[in-house]
Symmetry: C2
Subunit: 397 residues, 2 copies
């Protein structure tokens, strides 16, 4: 072919989520949007906090337009990076400076940049099933091989002995995503400590650095008293990929950051490699208006309670009907065991009840579906009779 | 090294422009910003048109916040893409549909994505000196080899016979940047026709496609009656990389697009490869608020006259003092022959007069400096005595 085959393949094979999303739009046209119970997309349903609107209006009023919309330095505006590092320091008792923060166009950019910063051809990168499908794309595009570690049964915590069996002298990085997409699981401190101890041991054994990349777009979306360990406090060679897509409900604005742990081996060089990777991929700077919005909204919060209510309603109802669900402590996904052996078969059957869920084979775990409950509560309520009937048909009591 | 050496090298070697910019800030702190005549950065000095501010405020008022700041489809919001394709069609008498428009995070992203869409390892990509230094970064990151074609003397038009000598069976693409950064030259229709005829001939000779990538962030910044040929009208296998950074003075907001010519061989597949390349590089969608701003401001224009006045003042004055300048028909750069053999030596000498210009050796032409006149007119006026003294010292009459 005249063009790049990998790019063509990635562009022509839509992700299953996007496929379902397109079907949903068509079906809504046929029977009405309120009759289609679409749980496919991780698009926040909760409004951005009021501070965002206020911040934009203030910035338009008080800043010169050429400065507000002008280039910032490639790593991001200094005041913005300072606000980010101060925020991390105060929350997690650390000592980052703005020189270790690199503002990005969201979590996908953060991850793509981190991988291109540390990975060389032939390296391996371990991810934990179930994992966000795009990890494969970013890891392979950076030239590394994706290695999948299987989780503990039922709890879906990291299985540390499985992880150990997946680490070898080629392992360059592991990606931890907690709260997890698609399972909603938050890895416990016990799990994290065990993983970090293993990594320390393996670093010594192979005499090389293994980077821990923390992908944290869902950090702020946790329920009850659950806390999410901050990985820099457990492991020196940690890079954090953050995004405000979910924490401020701004997924389309593409704003996030990479934080490099100053305690990391050769931290300054790793940061420079992050800058260089961003440059090579065509990122000039993160969107300038929204950098300043972040500065003004660094402590703003979306209404997490709305997601928690959705979780409670959906989780409790589905458990009551007999479904086997992983209890999500965070994010806005419910991971449900398919009552049929094939998740795709269950997906097709649910479709007959106008319920759209995502079969998770591409996420590295077969026999499960993901239900994104970042939707209006009514949609959940109206979908419940369908879920109940499906259970009556499919689940043996 | 544990990290990726190429990324590290790109991050640790600052571009000369950034170096000068940092020096400028330090020097301004020492003697006052009004005493430093910094002509290093291509950051628009002209305000965005009033329509931009109005559009943002209207959008905040009329759109739901979750929709306004939510994900758009990966290729961009359909209504926005339709506005873009309609705009191209009406201006250049073409028949694009939204299915050939892919919204991007600005020109660098557009270019990086196009290259990753069409280039394979071992391919060659021809650029025309003088060329924007980042072309090398993007071409090499896509796995291709950068080949530099030298221009006509004095006019800095493309030298078609030099180009012919640089094309071979490995040539996959050429990048045309007109109005040109750093020369300000607009390639004439005669030049463009000759280039396109050559490309057609070479495609036949080698039995393969050679893509023409038009990098057009400066298209709207032209002076007098000069017109910039729209390359899709001259050559079928054309991709256009556009950005609103300069045309609407929004460089920090990272908003632009790729347009694929529907007349291109396998146009649909090339478009899919563009989508796939964007996905692989970590671009999820172009910033959503500014996509909608573009929809509302598609016909808005910055005050090009201000740049034209700057050009006239600077070009006329420097010619009068005896400098040899390339007359710029567009963009906001003046390309000046260094009175000393080494452009770097001239740069250092000009620095003593607090004048900061960019030596252009990295742009593929030695012995020239670039003066970015996207500055307040006063800065030019106040710098003229320094330029005059330098001429008196260095230029033999």
């Amino acid at each position: 072919m005249d063009i790049n085959e990998k790019s063509f393949a990635l562009g022509s094979k839509r992700s299953i989520i996007r496929e379902i999303f397109e079907y949903s739009k068509t079906r809504a046209g046929e029977i009405g949007a309120d009759k289609v119970f679409d749980f496919s997309l991780g698009n926040p349903s909760v409004e951005p906090p009021a501070e965002v609107d206020k911040a934009i209006k203030e910035l338009l009023l008080t800043e010169s337009a050429t400065a507000l919309h002008g280039y910032t330095s490639a790593q991001g505006d200094l005041a913005v990076r300072k606000a980010v590092s101060d925020n991390i320091n105060s929350r997690f008792n650390l000592n980052l400076t703005p020189d270790y923060i690199y503002m990005t166009c969201g979590a996908a950019a953060s991850l793509s940049i981190c991988l291109n910063a540390v990975v060389n051809k032939g390296d391996e990168c371990v991810v934990f099933a179930p994992f966000f499908t795009e990890y494969r794309v970013f890891v392979e595009n950076a030239g590394a091989k994706l290695i999948v570690s299987m989780p503990e049964e039922k709890t879906f915590q990291i299985n540390v002995s499985d992880l150990e069996s997946k680490i070898n002298e080629n392992t360059k990085a592991i990606i931890i995503n907690s709260p997890n997409n698609p399972s909603g699981v938050v890895y416990t401190e016990k799990t994290i400590k065990a993983v970090c101890e293993l990594l320390e041991r393996k670093q010594k054994e192979y005499g090389k650095v293994i980077y821990l990349i923390a992908d944290e777009p869902y950090r702020e979306l946790v329920y009850g008293n659950v806390s999410v360990p901050y990985l820099m406090n457990y492991y020196a060679n940690t890079l954090v990929c953050y995004s405000y897509s979910k924490s401020l409900s701004l997924p389309g604005e593409r704003i996030g950051y990479v934080a490099v742990n100053p305690q990391m081996q050769n931290a300054k060089n790793v940061y420079l490699a992050v800058c260089g990777a961003g440059r090579a991929l065509g990122y000039v700077c993160a969107p300038s208006l929204f950098q300043r919005v972040i500065l003004k909204c660094i402590n703003a919060k979306v209404n997490v309670e709305a997601y928690e209510q959705n979780r409670n309603l959906l989780y409790n109802s589905l458990c009551e009907y007999g479904y086997e669900c992983v209890k999500p402590d965070g994010a806005f996904y419910l991971f449900v065991k398919s009552p049929l052996e094939s998740a795709t078969a269950f997906y097709e059957m649910a479709k007959k009840f106008e319920i759209l869920v995502v079969p998770c084979d591409d996420f590295g775990v077969s026999g499960y579906v993901r239900i994104a409950y970042c939707v209006d509560k009514k949609r959940i309520e109206n979908s419940l009779p369908g879920f109940k009937k499906l259970a009556e048909i499919l689940i043996k009591k």
